[in-house]
């Protein structure tokens, strides 16, 4: 059994953990919750030997252990699914799943690829990963990569399994499946440490929950004694607000963006849809159903083999993101902040202002540094980005705070059309509400047109009044929830049920 005792850990700019002690029992799912930057990932990394604590100790079976690298943790059957996606892009799905145990497949100095592929396929199926195991992972979506990491952890018969926001990019389907798996392995005596910002999942799967706030442990409680509201109260020290977003009046005129008969060999066949001014159009579907891929085509980052995109009624010629942004004022918030959204080595201000440098120039064409800092500060305050100053490098922020930077840069960009792919991956409740409010205001107040790709059902039902359901690279259904004046006419349960029907 695993115990942590009086763990303290400081980083250059902040004390991430302050005298934290928790006991983890065998055969329990132990959830750790807290706001962005509360110290959850730091705690996990300490248990796994990735960080060494400044003070305190980690005990396993009553004895203090000193881990110096993740390898040491693996040797003790402690396994981590990290919050950040960690896969080797050029290797296949199977190699990535079996990454930490390739040596088990050595036969006479050679690696037995056939057996690796066969075993990997079993785990891929277990987590509902549909991509073939011999495919390189570079082309897969963030969610599929997440599934690979889960499969990797599951296949290594760990006795302590740490999952740091494993479901952040997953849809309900894969998530339910994962929770089911967790219940099963817990029955086998495994300790599961589960970090998530989605409290529904925590309530559904956890036995006990520990709450961190600003690096301190607020408490550990059996889940049976807690309600969602109480957990939130412990996390943020106040009650959560519920957001009644109300009506969204959509411009009845001709569409702002229209896709007509988009085709891409082997994937899309004749896909069409329209987006109106002031609308939030939802794209929902299972992982790998083609939502992000369609967005890539729209912004010119992937080629299409047929069909046309019309913007403001005119045929658009978009060959790159630069065309999309500068010719048509269409932005794209990537789902994959680490690889595609952020320059981790650069300061926050650079990352936020990168899309608006043109606007920040003085009459000699120089970027006004003060204006750049001010822009960054503005968003840091609005989105509650936890950092010492706008000059801090993005790489040293917690995952959720990085996500906020990644979305802030597009909120700053003043686009007419914004494609937002998974805006709240890893973002805590408070900031999530705020991001929802911002997206809503963009459409409602500023009349921007928004495509919202999200795997978070409550999020998409809450924000979008029209939802396109994707399956196997096709739009299989359209769910409407806009009555008179664009007010929602149906409740969450009804809408989500209808979406579910299209996916069945």
């Amino acid at each position: 059994m695993l115990q942590i005792r009086h763990i303290t850990k400081s980083f250059p700019s902040v004390r991430a953990l302050d005298d934290v002690s928790v006991d983890f029992a065998p055969g329990e799912v132990h959830a750790i919750v807290g706001e962005n930057g509360a110290g959850k990932s730091t705690l996990n990394k300490i248990i796994c030997g990735i960080y060494t604590p400044d003070a305190g100790e980690v005990r396993l079976d009553g004895a203090t252990i000193h881990l110096h690298a993740y390898k040491d943790a693996l040797d003790r059957k402690i396994n981590l699914v990290s919050q950040e996606i960690q896969v080797i892009p050029k290797s296949t799905v199977a190699e990535n799943i079996m990454l930490d145990k390739l040596d088990r497949y050595l036969a006479g100095g050679r690696i037995d690829w056939r057996r690796i592929n066969a075993d990997a396929a079993r785990y891929a199926e277990m987590v509902d990963l549909t991509a073939p195991v011999t495919q390189p992972v570079a082309v897969l979506s963030a969610a599929q990569k997440q599934l690979i990491m889960i499969a990797r952890a599951l296949s290594s018969d760990a006795r302590i399994l740490i999952m740091d926001e494993p479901t952040s990019a997953l849809t309900r389907h894969e998530t339910d499946n994962l929770l089911q798996l967790l219940r099963r392995i817990k029955g086998e005596g495994v300790t599961v440490i589960f970090v998530s910002h989605k409290l529904e999942e925590v309530l559904a799967v956890a036995d006990r929950v520990s709450v961190l706030r600003d690096g301190s442990l607020i408490g550990t409680q059996p889940i049976a004694r807690l309600t969602k509201e109480q957990i939130v109260q412990m996390m943020i020290g106040r009650d959560a607000r519920t957001l009644g977003l109300g009506a969204l009046t959509v411009d009845a005129g001709p569409p702002v963006l229209e896709a007509r008969g988009i085709s891409q060999t082997g994937r899309f066949h004749n896909v069409s849809f329209a987006l109106h001014r002031g609308e939030i159009l939802g794209f929902y579907g299972l992982v790998g159903s083609g939502r992000t891929e369609l967005a890539q085509i729209l912004i010119g980052e992937d080629r299409k083999d047929g069909g046309e995109v019309y913007i403001e009624g005119k045929r658009a010629n978009i060959q790159s993101m630069a065309d999309s942004l500068f010719k048509y004022r269409m932005g794209y918030v990537s789902e994959n902040r680490k690889e595609k959204g952020l320059i981790l080595s650069a300061p926050i201000q650079t990352n936020i202002a990168i899309t608006v440098w043109e606007r920040l120039r003085d009459r000699f064409g120089s970027i006004r540094l003060a204006a750049e800092t001010a822009t960054a500060r503005d968003f840091m305050q609005k989105l509650e980005i936890r950092a010492t100053d706008p000059g801090q490098t993005v790489g040293s922020l917690s995952g959720g705070n990085q996500q906020k930077v990644s979305i802030a840069k597009w909120l700053a960009a003043h686009c007419d059309i914004l494609i937002i792919d998974e805006p709240t991956i890893g973002v805590d409740i408070g900031a999530k509400e705020y991001i929802h409010q911002l997206i809503w205001n963009l459409a409602k107040v500023e009349g921007k047109s928004i495509i919202l790709i999200s795997s978070d059902m409550p999020e998409i039902v809450n924000l979008a009044r029209r939802i396109l359901v994707f399956k196997d690279f096709a739009i299989v259904g359209e769910v409407r929830n806009n009555g008179e004046n664009g007010a929602p006419v149906r409740g969450y349960d009804e809408v989500s049920k209808e979406i579910g029907q299209y996916l069945a």
Partner: protein
């Protein structure tokens, strides 16, 4: 909400201001160690050797340092985007040979020769960039190949013979001075100031840095990264060609062997000067300081009567040292920030 904001603000203000923060800022800079090291070396040499601070020695050293800066810029501008240019010296050599051929063999005026040579160098850089962008091969392979292409041209055109008939007006730049400060040095400082400004204040400079920081993210932020890559390599050619011309101007003759030793110098000066090897960082001050430092060391070795044939060994050792110092600096800057947090917490 408001309560949390107040706390957040308190957290932030806690960590700003004061001597600690100034020190942290300095330690955080990538060029601090090289500037300090250069100053120390300079002081050491001034005391230990009476012939060091003579106008003649300073004049010569600053001219050498200036050429080093120019060569290093050719490398730094591509390191900034995470690339490298192995053909840098060959482009320099080709420029030298073209300039020599124009002035000596053809007898043309420097006003024709210099622009023509510069154009050739620029085209060489552009060629590298174009192939890299179109073929999607990495810069190592492409510039390795072009190193051979350009070197072959140098040898083919010159047949290995130097051009010594260089007009006086052309050597002005490399040999004359303004109130004791060599033209070369003034020129290079101006170039550095302009570059420092461009990287900090101009969009194009920022785009170069962003592309080096994360190519994908830069492209998805609307930056035409292919153009940026082409630009960086073209500029690398421009700097290499400029360095070549200045070299001729200083030597008073055009040697086909010019540039053969630029590779190690260019990397040494750029890296020691704080240009992050994996891209995204540039320091004009650092490059100036590290060029001066290398010149000082070279000068010192000569004064100490060390066998000059070992020069490259020393350069290599210094590069290794610089990289280690860099990691020590990181650790130190972390420690100082940490202790400060503890004291305020």
């Amino acid at each position: 909400m408001t309560q949390r904001e107040v706390k957040l603000l308190a957290r932030q203000t806690n960590q700003r201001g004061g001597v600690g923060s100034a020190l942290r800022g300095i330690l955080r800079r990538s060029d601090t160690s090289v500037v300090i090291a250069t100053l120390i070396l300079f002081i050491l040499f001034s005391f230990s050797n009476s012939s060091f601070l003579t106008p003649f020695n300073l004049f010569n050293m600053s001219r050498t340092a200036s050429l080093y800066v120019m060569v290093a810029l050719g490398q730094a501008i591509v390191i900034v985007i995470g690339h490298m240019n192995l053909s840098l010296g060959a482009i320099g050599g080709l420029t030298v040979v073209v300039a020599g051929w124009c002035m000596d063999t053809m007898g043309w005026s420097p006003w024709v020769a210099a622009p023509l040579a510069l154009l050739i160098g620029t085209l060489c850089g552009m060629f590298n960039g174009f192939i890299i962008v179109k073929s999607r091969l990495n810069s190592f392979i492409v510039t390795l190949a072009s190193l051979f292409i350009f070197t072959g041209l140098v040898q083919g055109i010159s047949q290995g013979f130097p051009y010594s008939n260089i007009p006086k007006e052309f050597t002005m730049m490399g040999r004359n001075d303004l109130m004791g400060v060599p033209f070369l040095f003034i020129f290079v400082v101006i170039v550095l100031i302009v570059l420092g400004y461009v990287f900090k204040y101009r969009i194009v400079g920022r785009r170069l840095l962003a592309t080096g920081g994360n190519l994908e993210a830069a492209r998805l932020s609307g930056i035409r990264t292919d153009n940026i890559i082409l630009l960086a390599h073209t500029l690398s050619g421009v700097f290499a060609a400029t360095a070549g011309l200045l070299w001729v101007s200083r030597m008073g003759s055009a040697q086909p062997s010019t540039g053969t030793d630029w590779l190690i110098v260019s990397f040494a000066v750029a890296i020691i000067g704080g240009t992050a090897l994996n891209g995204g960082e540039f320091s004009a001050l650092g490059i100036l300081a590290s060029a001066i430092m290398l010149t000082l060391i070279k000068n010192g070795l000569i004064m100490l009567n060390v066998n000059v044939y070992f020069e490259q060994t020393f350069l290599g050792v210094i590069v290794l040292l610089a990289v280690s110092v860099e990691s020590i600096r990181m650790a130190l800057s972390n420690r100082s920030r940490r202790s400060q947090v503890k004291s305020t917490a």
